[in-house]
């Protein structure tokens, strides 16, 4: 995920302090991976340098100065461009799992076991996501669904590979 673009997008609704930005980011997108303060401030410095945000005000307090950031017109254009650019689908070719399966076959180990334990691990993740979905709000449900569909796609590949193991074994032996 582009943290810079996401923070810029969050600024579109109005100027915010770095701390508020971090909180908004974590609340909406950072469920599993909250931002570090360092990431927020280094990202804001970069955006400032590139003219995508500007300092809207500085509060002097007991601690360090608190800058309030506002998005610039160039920043808004940048967010627009980012939203309009489709993400390149990941290709997943030569995945670790494929390598493990082929290696197991080459070394006469049980490739079915590799697939079975991977299925089990995937299902473990899917159970956690399903549970989070059941108890979460709509945003949680959508985020979890995205992950669930990807895991499901892996599992479909895994089942297909399990069904083709004999054929694959014959091919890698050649």
């Amino acid at each position: 995920m582009s943290i810079g673009h996401t923070l810029l997008g969050l600024l579109e609704s109005g100027p915010r302090h770095g701390y508020d930005l971090k909180r908004a980011f974590d609340e909406k997108f950072g469920h599993d991976r909250p931002l570090h303060y360092g990431q927020v401030y280094s990202t804001m410095s970069r955006l400032l340098k590139n003219g995508l945000v500007e300092v809207d005000g500085i509060e002097a307090g007991g601690g360090p100065e608190r800058k309030r950031y506002a998005i610039t017109d160039a920043g808004v254009t940048d967010v627009e461009r980012w939203l309009a650019t489709p993400e390149k689908p990941e290709e997943y070719l030569q995945s670790t799992l494929y390598t493990k399966v082929v290696l197991a076959l080459l070394t006469h180990r049980n490739a079915g076991d590799v697939l079975d334990s991977q299925r089990s691990e995937h299902l473990r993740s899917m159970r956690i996501l399903t549970d989070r979905k059941r108890h979460g709000d709509l945003a949680d449900q959508l985020v979890c669904d995205h992950a669930l569909f990807h895991l499901e796609a892996d599992l479909r590949w895994l089942e297909l590979t399990a069904a083709r193991l004999d054929k694959l074994r014959a091919e890698v032996a050649e």
């Binding site: 334990s117 089990s120 995937h122 899917m126 399903t130």
Partner: protein, 232 residues
């Protein structure tokens, strides 16, 4: 590949099940175990033997050899009448298609297992309505199955499967005919309802998203089973 000896406290266990249909070996030493309140997914490709395993566990077809123990009793020692009684009162069933009697209303369908067990119509329909409420389909009580959607019909079928308070619910691809949203809602309601009554659920599915509602999974391949939790 075979499951090890059943752990203590199992409600239903099977060991070394073999079942052939003519020259086709459907089960080849499969094992299984489930505790009260547990949801176990039985996964595997088409033709792997997972439905045969369910049918054997539920006493619908006898295995050629092997042992099935339910609540401490060997099922092979029960006669047909005893096994039928077990299926009527202790077991519940949900399948993919065609479970509801089209001539009866939904509440009559849900009440049917209780009526077959001799409960009065009034009492049976009262209990049926309670279950329909839990499955969020009580407003369909007077409708016939032909007048409700697939997802609603499946919830009615789940209500019917639970109306006798079964200790084991057998669900064979219960969401196979539904779209994602309806399928998920059925799974949520089914597992919530089963957990609230401490019923064990044997969930046959080839869909990972459905299996994700289980506590653990057993994989069946070429008639052999593998208990993934105990294999780790």
């Amino acid at each position: 590949m075979n499951a090890p000896a059943a752990p203590a406290g199992s409600l239903l266990t099977a060991e070394e099940l073999r079942k052939a249909y003519g020259p086709t070996l459907a089960l080849d030493g499969a094992g299984f175990s489930i505790h009260p309140g547990e949801v176990v997914a039985v996964m595997g490709p088409s033709g792997s033997g997972k439905s045969t395993l369910l049918h054997c566990l539920a006493g619908i077809v006898p295995p050629d050899s092997g042992s099935i123990m339910y609540a401490g009793r060997e099922m092979a020692t029960m006669n047909d009448a005893e096994r039928s009684a077990l299926r009527r009162s202790e077991f519940g069933f949900v399948f993919q298609f065609g479970q509801l009697v089209p001539e009866l209303t939904c509440v009559e369908n849900v009440a049917l297992p209780l009526r077959l067990n001799g409960t009065s119509r009034k009492e049976a329909e009262k209990t049926a309505l309670d279950w329909m409420r839990r499955l969020e389909v009580d407003d369909l009580a007077k409708k016939r199955p032909g007048e409700v959607s697939g997802g609603q019909g499946q919830r009615v079928a789940v209500a019917r499967s639970l109306v006798t308070g079964p200790r084991v619910l057998f669900a064979d691809e219960p969401t196979g005919a539904l779209d994602s949203l309806n399928g998920e809602r059925v799974m949520e309601l089914l597992t919530d309802a089963a957990r609230s009554t401490n019923a064990a659920v044997v969930l046959v599915t080839h869909e990972a998203r459905v299996a994700a509602y289980s506590d653990r999974e057993i994989v069946v391949r070429d008639g052999k089973s593998r208990d993934m939790e105990r294999a780790v």
